[in-house]
């Protein structure tokens, strides 16, 4: 279980408990947090669940696989802190994570 804070582009914050085994994306969808679309439901097929992860948290996450890396390379509004949140499994280590979301996923 991890307490995760999702910050919308307009600054609105949502803090929720997300169970281990789910992904950061699923934590947003199941709690109806706006800002993550996740059209494909977590198949790493659409790049509509992009978030920005602060540097200090990045080391606690799995490294990007090729698919995620290339999708991010082409996603609008992505930068070096971008991750696809469907590729980020929740663990106790992520307790306290705070991520921000882009203005639009399309």
């Amino acid at each position: 279980m991890a307490k995760i804070t999702y910050v919308e582009h307009n600054g609105t914050e949502h803090t929720v408990d997300v169970a281990n085994g789910l992904t950061v994306m699923e934590g947003a969808i199941k709690n109806s947090i706006p800002g993550i679309d996740a059209d494909c439901g977590g198949a790493c097929a659409c790049a509509t669940c992009m978030v920005y992860v602060p540097k200090e948290w990045q080391a606690k996450m799995p490294e990007k696989e090729d698919m995620e890396e290339t999708m991010l390379d082409f996603a609008e509004a992505s930068n070096e802190d971008s991750r696809l949140s469907c590729q980020l499994p929740v663990t106790d280590e992520l307790d306290g994570l705070r991520i921000t979301m882009p203005e639009s996923q399309h």
């Binding site: 199941k30 679309d37 059209d39 198949a43 659409c46 698919m67 999708m71 082409f74």
Partner: protein
């Protein structure tokens, strides 16, 4: 006069619309009727990771039950609506209950096309549309079991790939001369036939099914040309049909789907429709579409919710689709119907990574990308802005994907 909004259907369009209605600030009563016993869940994984038992129901379920209670959304799972009384502005359930509406959303989805040949009612013959179907199919999963898949479309081929990975003996029968003939160029069809054969699946094209053999349980599929394909079980995936009966019976305009405008409004100003069941205008292609896709269900759910509360968020999207088979991720942007040239980037004859760009004259109208995320991501933008492309630049892999449209 109440403000009640009623949603008929319990799939992704319904769940999205309910969420969006609350996000739009609607505070009146919302009721959802779904004929399955489950709350809305994702269908795409049913023929992929869920079938392969890599994920369970908790991962395909869209929202926890608490979402509906917390948002004051009344849910009627396992309840079928059998009639819409437009004059009285109410819907009737199968057991005769009536519920009034101010606005109504039809998110009735689609159902499988059934195969109507001798023996079709035998045990061991399945379709794949919902959780119960998958559970029945999984009960036959064991190493060495003989599976015959009828239909070489997305569903059939995804099932074949999962079954093969579980050690089964798999044969796919396709009536057309090539698999996925309805949606892709022959280059892509032949690529998938090659990969399935390399993985050990038997692909038989140009084979129609004349009947099923067996006593009470199917034992073989009969092609009607003296050839029998032995089977311990059969999965049929030959397309889907939009659920438009309720709309037809209450007199709404229905033509290959419930006819809606760009705001998901039907021919009755108080009735809206979203998802697989709609025929909707698409500004990018300039004609009506009926789509079988989750992206469409989600986006129309948002549009319909906005329209029901008096906002306008017109639907204007480039369709996209994906399919997972083995190590292949196929991502499709747009619709290729009417293309005049298919341009290949990469080597579909030997490799497992390539893209096909569909041009209509010089304008790119669709792209199929197999393990090619850059081409997929780039083409989302190119198709949306109707970019004109030079075929030579597409085919030249020394030119970066980002630079294809330049020059």
């Amino acid at each position: 006069m109440g403000k009640d909004i009623i949603i008929v259907g319990g799939g992704q369009a319904a769940a999205q619309a309910a969420q969006s209605l609350r996000a739009e600030g609607f505070t009146g009563p919302i009721r959802i009727f779904g004929d399955e016993p489950h709350a809305p869940y994702q269908r795409p994984p049913l023929s992929k990771k869920f079938l392969a038992k890599e994920i369970g129901f908790d991962r395909v379920e869209l929202k926890p039950e608490s979402f509906y209670t917390d948002n004051d959304i009344a849910t009627h799972w396992g309840t079928r609506i059998t009639e819409i009384d437009r004059k009285g502005k109410r819907v009737l359930t199968a057991d005769g209950q009536a519920y009034d509406y101010a606005k109504l959303l039809l998110a009735t989805g689609s159902r499988v096309r059934e195969i109507n040949v001798p023996g079709f009612e035998m045990d061991g013959i399945y379709y794949l549309r919902n959780i119960a179907d998958v559970e029945a199919i999984q009960s036959h999963f064991k190493e060495g079991a003989r599976l015959v898949v009828v239909g070489g479309g997305y569903i059939g081929l995804e099932v074949a790939a999962v079954a093969k990975k579980h050690g089964m003996d798999v044969t796919v029968l396709e009536a057309a001369e090539r698999v996925m003939a309805r949606v892709v160029d022959p280059i892509v069809s032949h690529f998938y036939e090659r990969v399935h054969r390399e993985e050990g699946v038997k692909i038989e094209t140009g084979v129609t099914v004349a009947g099923f053999e067996g006593e009470s349980h199917v034992t073989a599929v009969d092609s009607g040309e003296g050839k029998l394909y032995p089977a311990d079980f059969v999965v049929v995936g030959i397309g889907i049909i939009p659920n438009t009966e309720l709309a037809v019976e209450c007199g709404l305009d229905v033509q290959n789907g419930i006819v809606v405008d760009e705001n998901c409004r039907t021919s009755d100003p108080d009735i809206f429709a979203a998802g697989d069941c709609t025929s909707h205008p698409n500004g990018i292609y300039g004609h009506r579409l009926r789509l079988e896709s989750v992206h469409n269900a989600i986006e129309q759910g948002k549009t319909a919710a906005a329209a029901m509360v008096g906002e306008e968020k017109p639907y204007n999207q480039v369709p996209w689709f994906w399919s997972d088979q083995y190590d292949l991720k196929l991502q499709i942007v747009g619709l290729s119907a009417g293309y005049t040239q298919a341009v290949v980037r990469g080597d579909p004859e030997n490799g497992r990574s390539f893209a096909v760009f569909y041009l209509k004259d010089d304008t790119v109208i669709a792209v199929d990308a197999v393990n090619r995320a850059p081409e997929f991501m780039m083409s989302k933008q190119l198709v949306h802005k109707k970019a004109t492309l030079d075929p030579a630049r597409i085919a030249d892999e020394s030119i970066k994907v980002k630079e294809i449209a330049q020059g």
